[in-house]
């Protein structure tokens, strides 16, 4: 942990007092700076004041729920968001990923798992020492960590950016969902492939000319995804 001098600051939005206190305790011990909010409204207010590096967001919140908070943040911000979901509500995961979350952790939460996910998400924003690559009108600058389309800057979340970088590192080569989960999300062998699918959807919406008929990020049936230069 030594090389990372800057202590990452987190915003934990969770309505249950016990969970909030316990997670704050656990995450603080893991070396994070934690700010907490008990409701979505408080969380959004705090977000504007403090600008954390990452948000840990409970789905079940009084007032505006986690999905709505997620959607509101995404309107203006590309901050990484990790959802805390109840797994029995299966649809939660899907809705959460569609509303723009980068990852999710299922309750009951193991602090170590949450910490690992937080660190993995934060690593996505780290810069790489590499050059630029061009795919049609899309230019990926690896050193500046920016992506431009027709000269315009694209607002990508760290996860979307990392996914695009991993795909662009192996142009024309199909990567399986499990591979992408390991490369981008740093999940173990049992990653949820829906994370990849949801992120690809979002990425296509920003990168492709016509997101419904993608020319850059292609689906390879039975395998996964591939980044192609348009013909």
């Amino acid at each position: 942990m030594g090389q990372n001098v800057r202590v990452p600051s987190l915003l934990l939005i969770e309505d249950d007092d016990a969970i909030r206190t316990a997670l704050e305790l656990s995450l603080t011990r893991q070396g994070h700076r934690v700010a907490t909010a008990a409701s979505g409204e408080d969380g959004l207010k705090l977000l504007r004041e403090q600008r954390p590096d990452l948000i840990v967001l409970d789905v079940m919140l009084p007032g505006i729920d986690g999905f709505e908070v997620c959607r509101r943040i995404r309107r203006t911000d590309q901050l990484p968001i990790i959802l805390l979901t109840a797994r029995s509500d299966d649809i939660d995961v899907v809705v959460g990923l569609e509303s723009g979350a980068d990852d999710y952790v299922v309750k009951p939460i193991q602090g170590r798992v949450l910490d690992a996910r937080i660190r993995a998400v934060l690593r996505r924003g780290e810069r790489e020492s590499s050059d630029a690559a061009t795919f049609g009108s899309l230019v990926i600058d690896r050193s500046a960590m920016t992506v431009t389309k027709n000269g315009e800057d694209l607002q990508l979340t760290p996860t979307e950016l990392r996914l695009l970088l991993e795909l662009s590192r192996r142009p024309g080569q199909a990567l399986s969902r499990q591979q992408l989960l390991r490369l981008v999300w740093e999940h173990d062998y049992l990653g949820d492939s829906r994370l990849v699918d949801a992120c690809v959807q979002r990425l296509r919406a920003k990168v492709e000319d016509v997101p419904s008929s993608p020319t850059l990020i292609r689906t390879v049936r039975g395998v996964g995804y591939r980044l192609d230069s348009p013909q």
């Binding site: 249950d16 029995s88 299922v106 009951p108 499990q178 829906r194």
Partner: protein, 541 residues
């Protein structure tokens, strides 16, 4: 019940009816036979009696008329002859007698003056001769009887019916009292026989018609009885298949209508009972689901804090009060157990509620199994026999749950080495077969059918096991949702064998328009939390 259904059911009933008509012991056949027998007996006895009476009446009338005429003619013609007539006289008299209205053949026998027997014959085609008259008749006619009070004449008129060349004849003979020729007559009874024959034919046809009518009636009766019975049967079968809303249409007030009404009442009562039970079942299921849901919130808080305690334990020994340390360890380990239990409970409730979904992916089975074993640090204890390159389209998380439970169970009860083998036949769409075999004592026969039951403990005295008691049941549910199956057996070489059978392509069970665009109702994804010792997450740098 719609028209269409009714029609369909009618058709089915008809087909069924045909089948049951073929059955020898069927009610329909028995009815037809009984009706037929009754009709046959009645018709045969009625026709028999009718025929007999008719025959007697016809014959007697014809006979009486002929004999009366014959007697008359004998008196008038033969009586008028001299005592010893000549052949010519006799012949003429016979001709005259035969010309009477009855048209019989006549033979007169007398003795002429010379004592020679002379014959007078009415002629005709056949030529009525004395040989045509039966001997017995001749004797009876020629016998002179004593004259008493009861018997006033010495000679009588005798008659007999004979059949010659298939034609019935009436032959009669008598002597003229007081000396005269003996006269014989023969009269064909063919017209009468013909009449009687045609009568017999008509009676036979009538009997046949009565039989057919009886059979038709029996059919109709059988149908009116059997159709409701068959409908009842169909309804009972549907009820048995679980369609509790099955009801019969009640028409009429007969016993069958009563039966239908009883059936309807029974079905209604059953439906109500089942609905009540289902509601109670639902309620208890919902309760378990809600409860496990509710347990999760405090458990999340406890788990998070327990990890803090755990790290404290691992940090430096001695930093904690030795009195407190075992207590903390207990809390840590029991919290983990509680976590697993709640996790499994929620998994089970998800299956019960039918909300469990598959999240399919193409995986290499050997890799997947290796990863599963590796993640739980079982590599030393498990012997994997699987070639790489066997791909299947399954839910990797669910496969992991199945394998973790099967292998974990084998390790716990059977002991190492546990052998895991993967087989797939070459056939198209063949199932993948994964076998987990241990080298323990095996499973007692009486426990074998219950190993997949929830919370089943082999015996009450058995020590509390590590597992939640839900593991194998969850493994089974996970196999089922793939369209697969798990079976448990004992190997003849000792040890228990669990065989998991999964279809190679699970996507047939879920309708996904495009795998690349699937973002709909996927399954629950929760990486690496099964079996307790998962290695989920990586320590950050």
């Amino acid at each position: 019940m719609t028209e269409k259904q009714g029609g369909l059911r009618g058709w089915a009933a008809g087909r069924k009816g045909n089948l049951s008509r073929l059955r020898f012991t069927s009610l329909r056949l028995r009815l037809v036979v009984v009706f037929g027998l009754v009709a046959l007996t009645a018709a045969v006895s009625a026709s028999g009696i009718a025929y007999w009476l008719n025959r007697e009446a016809v014959l007697t009338r014809a006979q009486d008329a002929v004999l009366r005429d014959f007697r008359q003619e004998m008196q008038n013609r033969a009586g008028a002859l001299p005592e010893h007539p000549t052949q010519d006289q006799l012949q003429r008299a016979a001709g005259q007698m035969a010309a009477s209205s009855q048209r019989f053949s006549v033979l007169l026998v007398a003795q002429d003056t010379g004592g020679k027997t002379v014959y007078g014959n009415s002629g005709g085609i056949n030529g009525f001769a004395l040989e045509d008259v039966p001997k017995t008749l001749r004797t009876a006619v020629n016998r002179q009887q004593k004259v008493t009070d009861a018997n006033k004449e010495p000679y009588h008129l005798y008659w007999q019916r004979v059949v010659e060349h298939g034609t019935p004849y009436l032959v009669a003979g008598t002597q003229v009292i007081g000396g005269g020729p003996t006269g014989y007559m023969a009269k064909s009874l063919e017209p009468e026989a013909k009449d009687l024959n045609s009568l017999a034919w008509s009676l036979g046809i009538a009997t046949g018609l009565a039989l057919i009518g009886a059979a038709l009636l029996a059919q109709a009766a059988a149908t009116t009885v059997l159709k409701p019975v068959h409908r009842l049967g169909v309804a009972a079968r549907r009820l048995g298949e679980g369609r509790l809303d099955t009801r019969l249409r009640v028409s009429g007030t007969d016993e069958l209508a009563d039966l239908s009404r009883t059936f309807n009442n029974a079905a209604e009562a059953l439906e109500k009972r089942v609905a009540e039970m289902a509601a109670r079942d639902d309620a208890s299921r919902r309760f378990v689901a809600d409860m496990s849901h509710e347990l999760r919130t405090p458990l999340t808080a406890i788990t998070a804090v327990t990890e803090v305690l755990e790290e404290e334990l691992e940090a430096e020994s001695g930093s904690m009060d030795p009195m407190i340390e075992p207590a903390v360890r207990l809390v840590v380990s029991e919290t983990r157990r509680l976590n697993d239990l709640v996790e499994n409970l929620m998994e089970v409730t998800r299956f019960d509620a039918g909300t469990a979904r598959l999240v399919l992916d193409d995986v290499d089975l050997a890799d997947q199994i290796t990863a599963c074993i590796d993640a739980r640090a079982w590599l030393d204890a498990v012997d994997l026999d699987a070639e790489r390159g066997i791909h299947a389209r399954i839910d990797p998380r669910r496969l992991d749950v199945i394998l973790a439970n099967l292998i974990g169970n084998a390790l716990k009860h059977g002991g190492s080495p546990v052998r895991v083998s993967v087989r797939v036949s070459d056939a198209q769409d063949a199932d993948v077969v994964i076998q987990v075999r241990d080298h323990g004592p095996g499973i007692p026969e009486d426990v074998l059918p219950h190993v997949f039951d929830r919370f089943y403990k082999a015996s009450a005295s058995r020590p509390r096991s590590e597992g939640s008691g839900l593991g194998l049941s969850i493994a089974m549910e996970n196999a089922h949702i793939h369209g697969g199956e798990i079976t448990a057996a004992n190997s003849p070489d000792g040890g228990a064998v669990f065989t998991l059978r999964l279809p190679r392509d699970g996507s047939r069970l879920t309708e996904e328009p495009d795998e690349g665009e699937r973002n709909g109702d996927g399954g629950a994804g929760n990486p690496g939390e099964t079996g307790g010792s998962g290695s989920s997450g990586k320590e950050g740098s």
